[in-house]
Symmetry: C2
Subunit: 458 residues, 2 copies
């Protein structure tokens, strides 16, 4: 049978596929640091030639307002699939914590199996290569792909995709397909194949409280002059009540309760909340007291202060009353929440808490709605079948507490549903020193996509 | 009359006295920056030779564990006075805000009279030179000083006097006198001659709240993991109640009410609270609601957060849940408050507010008790007479919201009362760019000390 032939081809090719991934990992395509712009360009070039080597000739490096995109097209009948991944990587700081050069990737034997070590191994070069290698083996066996496929690889995901929206709008026709496959997520609990069906949105705002018109000496003004840190901390302290609920007026309005079947699916996952928190040294869920930990993470909104600063913050002491103090606040949003409304309600709440001789400055740091994907579409069943056959485990339909803006863009700009499948593990150290990707993730990831192509086009 | 002769000598000498001050201002004796250590040493050398030029031969640069002290002795009968000042200066950052080189001092004509511009002009080189120049004119007229005088000049005041305590303990006999004259304070409201009779103490503590054992991604952990910034802001927000009172248990125990005569003296000062706050862009006193602004500044204790930091504080956004967050808290203390007790009560209060999976780290950043000087001593009357005659204004007995640790050291180590007299004005920009000292402050300051020496020894 042809599926078996392709899977055998994948197995036969694993060493050379790994070598190709190592080649890509050697390119330090750090997108946020402009001194690596040439390397980002080199990574895009490398991918163009890689895609050509599959036998896909319609491929190009497409300029954007930032680092280039790579777009390839393979004609075919049946569903039109778009595959998305990103070739850029996070910076490597703190470099001193790496046990090897982040851009000299290595295959290392561990008690848990072979791992591929290097910056980008898991996020996202290793993941995007699972799909390219699946295509390679498929074409090697069949001479062509089973359906129309567009490859769409970005080089700015790790710095907030500043060029994406405009690029997508300008290339709408070329990028529109039946569904977007996004390979940038993880297995559930490092073991079950997972499809992400809900993504939280994000709203971020910087709040600066301004008091006196200059920094003051606490000896001369202490006790008499308002301290913006005191005002700011009172505001932040009141964003949650004692039960962990966010106190912004209207914050929970219009949030639907989780469908019962989804709740059941999540209960069935056997998620170990104690272990999840225990892994990072914690033992008390910090969210709404009446919610399960998975709800706190996937289906309930949050409010967090991600950064706070004001006054003297270096070593020792300076008895300053600062003129201002700032906090970066972000919200993970869920279905039913409108970022603009919540931003306005937050601002209004802050203004009502402001003493008469303080002012406040608000700065928008981003906003995006939550996404929920329609799992009743046949493509979800195809993915479910393919993944459970490859991993010999039931597929987890999971939420994701994070925000993947590209999925929101596909939805809002191209009116495309997304299918988020990835093979990363929780201990892959993405964004951190000593990033790795299990060889198992890479190997079974490639095989998963082969099975998915077969299912989706059968 | 001999006093008149000395005052005339002061007037006659003003230009050369100013030139000598400019010479001292040209030495960049920034004590906190070790790259200026040679300049601190040069300033000490300059002062030794300056004191010799007065005719005082028993003078030396005395090594300490940091920058050197300068000690001079002039024998005499009558009271033994010790004069204290400091020759070191603050750093000049931000240098871009200076309208001239901070170490190329200038005499500039302004609508309000001539000013001496340069780092240290007011704090404290200009002030310490008022006393040396007073001695110079006195000796020029009389051939000797009217009493025994010890000159004690420090080079580390601006970096917290790290060597002072040990130096004072090791040189107890040489430094003990009847009273210490400290010239490092200001006129009241830039117009009335002032004697500081109360100094607030200082207690400083850094509090670090620690949650997870590493920084977490708010997408993966937000809602479930405790955020140390949330805990820290709740703690700081609760340090004051709605009426501006500090909530630490026992904080106000043992604080005596202000004596009625002191309260009356302060009421008589005609202090303009609106103008004081208005000058820095504020209009609401932020302290205890039932206290006057001068009480808030001089006789009531305070609590302020002088610095707060945690999470991502650079430009833009990073959706991090930080592993820890820190605040630098300081208290201005008044008579009756024990820094050690308050520190323990603060720590206990913080511990009771700590969620079970957070820990807290405390770091001591300094402690010193408040001081109150006995104004019934004859030396205070002498100063009062001298100052009111020179300035043609009644003398203000004032409090000082700041802490002048040297006064505490003189008291606790040498059992000496201090007499704090200074001629700085509120707009001298000490510690800031474009520091200046009014030529009037310098001139009338010298004359004030001449009158004081006459009164104190009459």
């Amino acid at each position: 049978m042809s599926l078996d032939a392709v899977l055998k081809e994948v197995d036969r090719n694993l060493d050379s596929a790994t070598d190709r991934l190592l080649d890509l990992l050697r390119i330090p395509s750090i997108s946020t640091d402009s001194s690596y712009a040439n390397d980002c360009d080199r990574a895009a070039e490398w991918l163009v030639s890689e895609i050509q080597s599959l036998g896909i000739t319609d491929v190009r490096k497409a300029p954007s307002s930032g680092h280039p995109m790579v777009i390839g097209h393979a004609d075919g009948s049946g569903p039109h699939l778009l595959f998305y991944g990103h070739y850029d990587v996070q910076p490597v700081d703190p470099i001193g914590l790496w046990d090897h050069d982040p851009f000299c990737p290595q295959i290392v034997d561990t008690a848990a199996g072979k791992i591929i070590k290097g910056r980008g191994a898991s996020d996202d070069k290793g993941q995007l290569m699972t799909f390219l290698e699946a295509c390679r083996s498929w074409i090697a066996v069949h001479g062509e792909l089973p359906c129309e496929i567009t490859l769409f690889l970005e080089g700015e995901e790790e710095c907030g995709s500043p060029s994406m929206l405009q690029f997508m709008q300008e290339n709408k026709r070329e990028l529109t397909a039946d569904v977007a496959l996004i390979c940038d997520t993880a297995l559930f609990d490092s073991r079950l194949p997972a499809i992400v069906t809900m993504l939280r949105g994000l709203l971020a705002e910087e709040i600066t409280i301004i008091g006196a018109d200059k920094d003051l000496h606490s000896g001369f003004f202490g006790g008499a002059a308002i301290n913006p840190i005191r005002v700011l901390t009172k505001i932040i302290a009141q964003l949650h009540d004692e039960s962990g609920k966010v106190t912004i007026p209207g914050f929970y309005d219009n949030i639907p309760e989780l469908p019962l079947n989804t709740k059941q699916e999540w209960d069935d996952l056997g998620f170990n909340a104690d272990a999840f928190l225990g892994d990072v040294g914690l033992n008390q869920p910090a969210g709404e007291a009446d919610r399960s930990l998975l709800e706190m993470l996937w289906s309930r909104p949050t409010c967090d202060c991600n950064g706070i600063y004001g006054g003297y913050t270096a070593e020792g002491m300076k008895t300053v009353l600062p003129a201002e103090a700032s906090a970066k606040i972000s919200f993970r949003l869920v279905e039913g929440q409108d970022p603009d409304v919540i931003r306005q309600n937050l601002r209004q709440m802050v203004r009502t808490m402001l003493p008469s001789d303080c002012t406040v400055k608000f700065s928008e740091l981003g906003a995006g709605k939550a996404s929920r994907f329609d799992t009743s579409k046949p493509i979800f069943s195809a993915a479910q079948t393919a993944l459970s056959e490859e991993w010999n485990e039931p597929v987890a339909f999971v939420g994701c507490g994070g925000s993947i803006p590209i999925a929101d863009y596909f939805q809002s700009v191209l009116d495309m549903n997304s299918l988020l499948i990835g093979f990363a593990k929780d201990d892959d150290q993405i964004h951190s020193p000593n990033e790795k990707y299990d060889l198992e993730s890479f190997h079974k990831g490639i095989r998963s996509w082969v099975r998915f192509l077969a299912e989706a086009t059968s």
